[in-house]
Amino acid sequence: MTGLGAICALGHTVREVWAAMREGRSGIGPIESVDVSRLRFTNGAEVRGYEPARHFEPNRLDLLDRFAQFAVVAAREALADAGIVLTPELGERTAIVTGSCVGGQTTEDAGFADLYGAGSGRVHPLSIPRIMANAGASWISTEMGATGPSFTVSTACASASHAIGLAFWLLRNHAADLALAGGSEAPFSLGHLKAWEAMRVVAPDTCRPFSVDRRGMILGEGGAMLVLEPLETARARGARVLAELLGFGMSSDAHHATQPNALGPVRAMRAALADASLAPEQVGYVNAHGTGTLANDPMEARAIREVFGAHASRLAVSSTKSMHGHALGAAGAIEAVATVLALSEGVLPPTANFTAADPECDLDVVPLRARPAWIEAALSNSFAFGGMNAVLAFGAPGRG
């Protein structure tokens, strides 16, 4: 990992996002982009003060849904952070892998509202290229001249973690020499929020992962991208190595569409550790999936206890979703950025909004305040609806 880019409720750049995480400051607040008078919940983690015209020319904006804009904005920052300028030769060996759960659904929602509600009889001709879930990857590759492999993964809330893990495996298999991987999401439209309302998993107040009085998740939006390159390449060009991606593990619950089951997450965490050749005791921090729903958090705590045994009591586990909300297909990427920075900056981001411990989530959840700690390795967990799990294992820079 040599470059990071992020835009979410905590800020428009990695620097702003990380400053908020270090302060344990939550980006959750009243939803502004959608009229909430018909909704049972009113809070979200929106990207505030974002002006698309500051980032894109008008003719480009016509083609870019908000979710794809976030992908491109984060990718630009990540590539610049890595100090890389893509030559045509390097571009041919560069992979772009993005995650998105719902693609350009704000475009779809607006178009269908016109069609069904206003009786327009037509849908705008740029709707399809704006809605397509691979629009983020497409525009990143087009803008940067990355002509190697590019694709998009859609595994609900694990999309970006799958994307980063698959990009890592592309590099390991010599299918590319450089990768930009991550995810983006913009789920704030009335239709989509209504669908979440009906799931009855969104908190009416805020996101309090692992707290006894937690009431559910809070939806978020944004994008994050990470630059991956082989360690020897990064060192050869004198790049600053932020962290090493050591392993990637996947599993499926094969159980239920939405009800979590600890067995799948256990197998994904074990697979990531095995892929990374890490012993559980080497891991000092887990960035939890930690949605703050009644069902996820005790399941995840059980799964972590199962994987780490007695070491679970010495492990720091936090959910940064308490600050940036659940950004669905972007979540895994924002959390990967948090995990990489935890390793490179020696600071574990906290679980914000924490009130009181739930005996069923008996872990050290780094409540409320970030904690200085230099750790050797960390996991980032993503467990999706549909029972699809992806876990990334990161190591501190210079450990190899």
Binding site: N59, D62, L63, R122, P125, L126
Partner: protein
């Protein structure tokens, strides 16, 4: 340019390409104006909306210039007037 059809075409081009109306003339070809396939379908959408007409796919394909487009729309309008 007092012709309402020509006005509508120029307005649609100006909107879709984000360029000043002065840059669009009847002699301009779509290539000159940098109109790609996505711009073209967006223009057709705008024109159908503004003029309350339906432009068939076949009629749109032969258009090469702004003038062609104005003529095409005039003949479509004329044909629809003749329909009983």
């Amino acid at each position: 340019m007092s012709d309402p059809v020509a006005e509508a075409v120029v307005a649609a081009l100006s909107k879709v390409k984000h360029i000043p109306r002065e840059r669009v003339s009847l002699d301009s070809t779509l290539v000159d104006l940098g109109v790609d396939s996505l711009d073209a379908i967006t223009m057709l959408f705008e024109l159908e909306d503004q003029l309350q007409i339906t432009i068939p796919d076949e009629a749109a394909r032969s258009v090469r210039s702004v003038g062609d487009m104005v003529e095409g729309i005039r003949s479509l309008a004329a044909a629809s007037c003749k329909t009983p």
